[in-house]
Assembly symmetry: D2
Homo-oligomer: 340 residues x 4
């Protein structure tokens, strides 16, 4: 463990976006790291700051500047196309990367181009990237050079589904439904009519039904086939938070506590998944501004129906929080540092 | 048609609640009726009114006062227990009733007491009440003495499901999922911690999963069995609107337009159900402050999966708007009067 | 009155913006007019519509098309620079214009360029334009060819101030403060970071303190000098509504009802200004979706302090509603047609 | 300093309210204290907690239990009448008290009964209580036995006004206007129609104009007379945050930086007041979830008009944050502990 040696330096590209800003906020309370802001845009917006509060130092997001600042690890909180452009150079210079975009989450370039509607220009990295969901891949993450930080929707879905799938208590032939609802920060900070205040407030809408970029991430990590998993995303008139209501039929489950036991066993060593007594559910308040994913469910034994509610902060466990959790594993810190 | 004769007099009990106030708003622009406010509470709240705007006349909600005011029809926008107490007397005095509560929606007293957790004290009216969903029961509504105005959730669900069930293109063995989200007016106007601003804003929560009073209303009108229909209600941080995302598997459907044709045929003569091209959906903006129920869907032929989005204003087609639609049928007005 | 002859044709440029869309909504329920949508942009956004609802007819916003459609009156719900470009040609072709922008509200080109930061290219129209506040200029409006529809903030301020100023009961030497708060539709529909959902929700901010384009409109219509009137605008996390809290010192006022009498006399013949008993105030609910401006106040006789609350819907009396009120006067309809 | 000795024990009465819950959240990250929850109600609400998360220990809010738990200091986050009932006994038993209600903020019982509409039953404590605004009374706070934690509105107003009043640059004869806007948590957690979601969302309203309990707190700490200070409170449709726009006329001020210098000198040693360059303002985002009060202003030299914007989190510097700041001074911790 290098906890005691010098503080490590981490860089953040995309620090003005919602995920990037959340990342900086979390890292600022982390005792083991120093943050360098890396600028990849030319049009920098000026924030009004109180007097005496000096704007943070910003250096260009170039391989040279990253080397000069002795950055140990770079977070890319950038759109997929920017991450595809930036990651190869940074990695080659020997610096590790945690990418929060979808650029490196899918294992092959073809699947990527099908869902992201463009050719992947760094396909060789897809095999090397480690999917950064610590509850599934903790050991591989420790030594990874490139982490594909999971999507917000797949994190909540995979954490709810995989324990039951691994325990083989899901009747996959009946299909699994994931009805997902997300706050607006999930759509990014770039102004658009779709995320304008007057279009969102007092409204609610469905989008990305069945077809959504996050679907293949769920399939890839759960082993489900495309027709076994139905997904629909909805936009909530709130800032942050994702709540997914998941419907499935079980097999060979006698009572609710049997399902609970499966979850409890699976997450016994994982502090960021919290469980609820059968019939009790988290709401978004319980997870906002945290790195938790909270899971509750109801179960009807006679019909073998289970309805699972999985909730997280899309900027926390769904993005920046999880990225810091990955960083903690990679740099040898306690997994929960700065996250509890 | 008595449209041309004298204006008819209608009374509203519960005019301070959200449904009742909406009812008064709609009725005020109806050329054929005069509204009388009927007070059933002793603790009347005082509204601040502009000068010169005289407070509406309020008379007690008694059989005597109703007779004296020559009320032709009474709307009960009251809790179920109040409706159970008031309806019998009003009906006996010869006045027709549209009840917006759940008091008379279920056909037998036993089912009522199972879901409403109390004994029904006017069970003889259950057989006489007509379920006020004009798209299904238009003719029976015209002559009804007592209308059970449908619940907000069941209206959106039944309108989306019944055409497909009647056309026998639903694989009922695979189960139907209804993931419903409602604005806060659906919970009524009585102050409670659950509906307090600071508990609701920026939050989102599931409640009434599987077990919800509105489930038997869907079963009764769709013919579905209890284990074939899974329902979950969620609370949106908005004032008004319901959006339901419904998941089912079809049988023998070749393409999306076949589903669309079923809907188009079913609702050809029904102006308040609007349909969308396959792959397009309504959001709540399209239905707020209207009496429309808007239905859109996606369909995947290979897997026979259909995802249907059904949206309405819970105070419009989900309550007061539908009540006026029923009144129009009962009193011989054009069905759309005051509603377009 | 030409109410009974043919329906008149009115055109709307800028019908996709919030004011323009509200205008179309109001005009659709107006029995005396037919609406033509006039397109001035090349990048037209496609709305999802229910099947069977045909998209409204749209013609180009050219003098030729306007003539061909026999448009009697054109509403310009466009930015000031677009209105400056379009109005001269339309007027020359003989069609009357109601402009909702700030282009023609100020009497001289110099004041315009000071506050709008650009030269006015149609200064000859400034003298011809009639300021469209019917409560002050009703007669002149009837015959106007070009109406400068007032700004949202000035409407609420002028309606609250002018009766007291005309009655000479304001101690102008003590200064008048107008603390104004507006919903986000007031900022227009063009996407911007400032009006993005995540920047506005759960936030509140001041902007345009002392310096605001709407200040000269208040001065011009009230006779106040620049240093006698202090204005501050704030952005509310809501869609629509303006509430202004106005602070002033009176002279020679003995009691609250004396102030009330001044208002009552002034607005006796004006149905869209509603008054409240001293000590009572409107909130935004009372004016949203209406053409009312509601005015309440408290008065402390000993200190001669008056605090006035003036509330309106910024899209109603603050824009589209008032524009229709002006149109009613210009085309000979009842002043309140489609507005009550 | 007793920082290094044993951790001190602090009790919180009213921990379910918004201020009390915020207090517990802040104290939980304070390394020097241990929190004991003190129950003063019989009807305890049950929160849904994740499994494994044990509910915090709760003991009765009695003098005996407080003594037994060796509580060094008790926070009363209770209504004024409860604080009046509880404080005397706790103080007599030797435990120090920080009261967040208005019970002990005014210096004499008569003023209290005028504004709070009831007789003060522990008037002897009014003279002993220290007003807990550390920026003004830091030294007296250190040794106080009973702290009257300031009201949310007065904190923002006093911090903005006193430096200018002390520097004698305010023309008091012209009057000072404070237009205050607050989030809904300021109204407490008890359910009421006024704070119900559907009444507050998309609305904005004025209340407590001129007459508001918080006025005498401003007068008492600023030396202003009742007619020199005009106050109006408004309810924002947000959870937390207060923004006050303050209007005054200065005397003998040449330029904006002169005003700034007065503030800078006054708050040089006070980390929780942040200042902005003239013409720049804080919004609520900059202060939410912090203990800062941020102050910005514009100044017009010619007319000597100053408009000041003072912003804070009503639960932070306006309540719980300030209470912890006071505790830090009383118990010998660094003033900023747990607050930065």
């Amino acid at each position: 463990m290098n906890n005691n040696s010098r503080r490590q330096t981490v860089g953040v590209v995309g620090f003005r976006g919602y995920s990037g800003a959340e990342l900086v906020r979390i890292l600022e309370r982390h005792p083991g790291v120093e943050v360098v802001l890396l600028e990849h845009r030319s049009d920098s917006e000026q924030r009004v700051l109180p007097l005496g509060q000096k704007p943070p130092k910003v250096v260009p997001a170039t391989v040279e500047a990253i080397a000069q600042e002795k950055v140990d690890l770079v977070f890319l909180a950038t759109p997929a196309e920017v991450s595809i452009a930036l990651a190869p150079g940074i990695l080659q210079s020997g610096t590790r990367v945690i990418d929060l975009s979808g650029a490196y989450r899918l294992r092959d370039a073809e699947t990527y181009s099908r869902w992201y509607k463009e050719r992947h220009t760094a396909p060789e990295l897809l095999a090397k990237a480690v999917y950064g969901l610590p509850e599934f891949y903790r050991e591989r993450i420790r030594d990874a050079r490139l982490i594909a930080n999971p999507g917000c929707y797949p994190t909540a879905a995979n954490l709810a589904l995989r324990p039951l799938l691994d325990a083989q208590v899901v009747d996959r032939s009946r299909g699994i439904i994931c009805d997902a609802k997300s706050g607006v920060t999930g759509a990014g900070r770039k102004p658009s009519l779709r995320t304008s205040f007057c279009e969102v407030t007092e409204n609610f809408s469905a989008y990305g039904i069945v077809e959504h970029r996050h679907v293949p991430e769920v399939l890839q990590n759960s082993g489900l086939g495309e027709r076994e998993f139905t997904f629909a995303a909805h936009l909530l008139p709130i800032e942050r938070g994702i709540l997914e209501t998941i419907y499935l039929r079980t097999e060979r489950v006698e009572k609710a506590v049997d399902l609970l036991s499966i979850y409890e066993d699976y997450y016994a060593e994982h502090p960021f998944v919290r469980l609820y007594a059968p019939g009790k559910f988290p709401d978004l308040r319980t997870v906002q501004h945290t790195n938790f994913c909270d899971i509750g469910f109801v179960f009807d034994a006679e019909s073998q129906r289970a309805v699972i509610v999985s909730a997280e902060d899309n900027l926390g466990k769904g993005a920046a929080g999880q990225a810091v959790q990955n960083m903690n594993l990679m740099l040898g810190f306690t997994e929960t540092e700065a996250l509890l």
